[in-house]
Point group: C2
Chain length 440, copies 2
């Protein structure tokens, strides 16, 4: 009887990795996680499935279209499309059990049924941190968030990246001073400067009904360049008579000042008046992070300050500041750009023990000792020729192999083979464990 | 204008934890993960959403009813309901890219739309390992899996637990020898012995149409007790004339023999002929793990050997052996049983630095040094009275607090407060970092 089989495949727009890539991906995930924890952020995990009325409390056109929504029994359910809405719901729901400022990180998958296209995923990891205050939250937190971004990308092995900051109040205040009412549209247009260029931005601004003079002023404004001190001075010199602008200028000044205390090198951050962030709930500091050599990748870590996290779920005023790293997309892009070196390693195993006839008990006992010393260890448990066993170690990128024979056991002298160099060294079990443990 | 708010809540049957419990949960998850890795299992991550035709290739009544299935565009989609079916699909799909035996672990959420009831969850973590062979896989792997279970529960802090093993061939061969054709029903009934008792099992077996003599023999068989050696001898003494039975007996004998080589204490394992496991794809060794003092929790880690992992997706013969820990349920039950001590700790932070007026730069610099030494550190960045700041440390269970004033900086002598003992010790920044780093 021949069985009918279904061709194994996954849906387009979903990332699935082979072991070597998965190890690389997890290493990045772990690095982000441990960096977040050194800043005292507490992990959170919320359900993947929530009530649609909760996730769509603040509905927007794009969200409604992209969300995975379905019924089961009488329930109208949705898969979370970000980690911010669940955070808002969580903080509102658990308000009395939490201590504020509430510092949480959340690393988890979110789901968006977008049209599949290169580098866009329907299921992807977000790595978020947020600091939520009760009624108020000092501006120094905005500088600390920048320090977390810096430490995270340094820990990920990057050196040449720039964290750009701006302030929504500065932008909105400036636009107000020009008599512009449709600030959101102007923000979105300004945000595209890097992508579409000055000419196109000019056209778009004019198309929004702005007068030539206003467009000119906006372009001059967003093109202000220099050190933080220079840009701040230029902004002061503009003498914009708008309260919001002045408030934002004060905030930007403070954040810039505190960044120095956190010891972040000048080359890794700077005020950039062109960044605006699309999301309309940001109300103060905003962040973007650019890999200097790969600006086309776009921002790899973004976020900002908001006045009111959970207004859809509570009357409590909960201001906060946070950022997000879209790790699935970042991983994909780093690989596409050739930044991620292809890893040969396809296992965590550091030591493969190959037992010859009659030595299984010794080999297994050895493996237990090695594991207790923290060394990921395998014993080759299956039958096969020696070549096949070494081939196994080679294909998986296991760095050390030891063949255990009865003679070697009798002598107490085993040969450890370094698979990279081919070198073989005779040593005792204890010496091997010591050696492998000392190797990164 | 008063805004309309939606009452924040989650769906029944979904677990969501407060920070202190989440830290405990993650600690268990990390322990499982690192134990799996010391055995050389490679992490895998598959999409949460797959094609329904893939996940339901081998459909069963219960699965069809429980699965979260929905349409998006033209796609018929489902959320994975276990990690085994995605593994089968993965191995069949990536067959040419994998090295066999393929050892993978997968820790992730799965989804089952069950009727909500106490201790049952619709979204829960499974922590699976499997070893997949190509065409064949040595029986020694079955002993190794038992060693992984042992190491995992030891690492989780358990001491009194028993890993019970049995063999499906022994069971099926024995039933065959009695002329029973509907083995699956008998297996399911036998599996309930502990739950429903001998009387009820007798009734159910009779209801299945078994003769009194067969029922009596089955009961006598499953009640065989003693050491592994004793049980194996009793089985041999039964002289069952059935090839499958004898094959299973041989396997059980080997597994029991190799377990000794792995150094697993006698008290933590044993053959138990009553365990049968519901799933019908097991064909050899089967495992259950019982917490000795809390047998009512049932098996906390189960699994077994199967002949053919991916028969729905490939003609290749892929035998394997694996286990699963249902961590969400286990966590819930440990807490219900009072086994998990309530943790006060609601943050990873070990050190809280409280800056007095004019010392923010020093405090932030100190925090950077502490973090670089691997100490999760927070600076209290917000305004408030001293009492509130210490209250923050106290509520979160932060073990050390240091108040930084201008005098202390001038002297180079800061006071570190141990929040548990109330003790204060004067030391330098370097001494503090050294002390906190040395504390677990």
């Amino acid at each position: 009887m021949s069985k009918q089989t279904v061709t194994p495949s996954i849906l387009p727009g979903f990332m699935e990795l082979l072991p070597s890539d998965q190890l690389l991906f997890n290493k990045m995930l772990d690095t982000i996680r441990s960096t977040y924890e050194t800043y005292g952020f507490v992990p959170l995990d919320t359900p993947t499935i929530e009530k649609s009325e909760i996730l769509l409390a603040k509905s927007g056109g794009e969200t409604e279209k992209q969300i995975y929504r379905f019924n089961k029994g009488d329930n109208d359910l949705s898969l979370r499309f970000d980690l911010t809405v669940p955070l808002a719901r969580y903080v509102a729901q658990r308000y009395n059990d939490l201590t504020f400022p509430f510092r949480r990180y959340h690393i988890g998958k979110v789901f968006r049924g977008e049209r599949p296209q290169k580098g866009r995923f329907r299921e992807f990891y977000q790595c978020d941190i947020d600091i939520i205050g009760n009624e108020n939250l000092s501006i120094i937190n905005d500088a600390e968030i920048l320090s977390v971004i810096y430490s995270t990308f340094k820990a990920l092995g990057f050196d040449e990246f720039t964290i750009r900051i701006n302030n929504r109040k500065v932008l909105n205040g400036f636009f107000e001073s020009l008599g512009i009412t449709e600030k959101a549209d102007v923000l979105r247009t300004v945000d595209k400067l890097e992508k579409i260029g000055e000419g196109a931005v000019t056209e778009e601004l004019k198309a929004l009904g702005l007068k030539d003079e206003a467009v000119e002023k906006i372009l001059k404004f967003i093109k202000l360049k220099g050190s933080d001190a220079e840009i701040l001075q230029s902004l002061r010199d503009m003498r914009v008579e708008n309260e919001l602008f002045q408030l934002g200028l004060e905030e930007l000044n403070k954040v810039s000042e505190y960044i120095r205390y956190f010891g972040i090198p000048e080359k890794n951050h700077g005020i950039d008046l062109t960044i605006a962030r699309g999301l309309d709930y940001y109300t103060g500091t905003i962040y973007e992070t650019i890999l200097d050599k790969y600006p086309s990748i776009g921002s790899v870590c973004s976020g900002g300050r908001y006045d009111n996290l959970a207004q859809n779920y509570t009357e409590k005023k909960l201001p906060g500041v946070g950022i997000s790293i879209g790790l699935t997309r970042l991983f994909y892009q780093l690989r596409e750009a050739g930044i991620l070196a292809a890893e040969k390693k396809a296992t965590p195993t550091k030591l493969l023990i190959i037992p010859m006839k009659g030595t299984m008990d010794f080999a297994l006992d050895f493996s237990t000792k090695a594991r207790q010393a923290g060394i990921p260890t395998e014993v080759y448990l299956n039958e096969g020729k020696m070549g096949k066993m070494f081939g196994y170690a080679d294909k998986l990128g296991i760095p050390y192999v030891v063949v255990v024979g009865e003679d070697e056991i009798a002598n107490g002298q085993l040969k450890l083979k370094d698979m990279d160099t081919g070198e073989q060294n005779v040593m005792t079990v204890a010496e091997m464990i010591e050696k492998i443990r000392s190797v990164k």
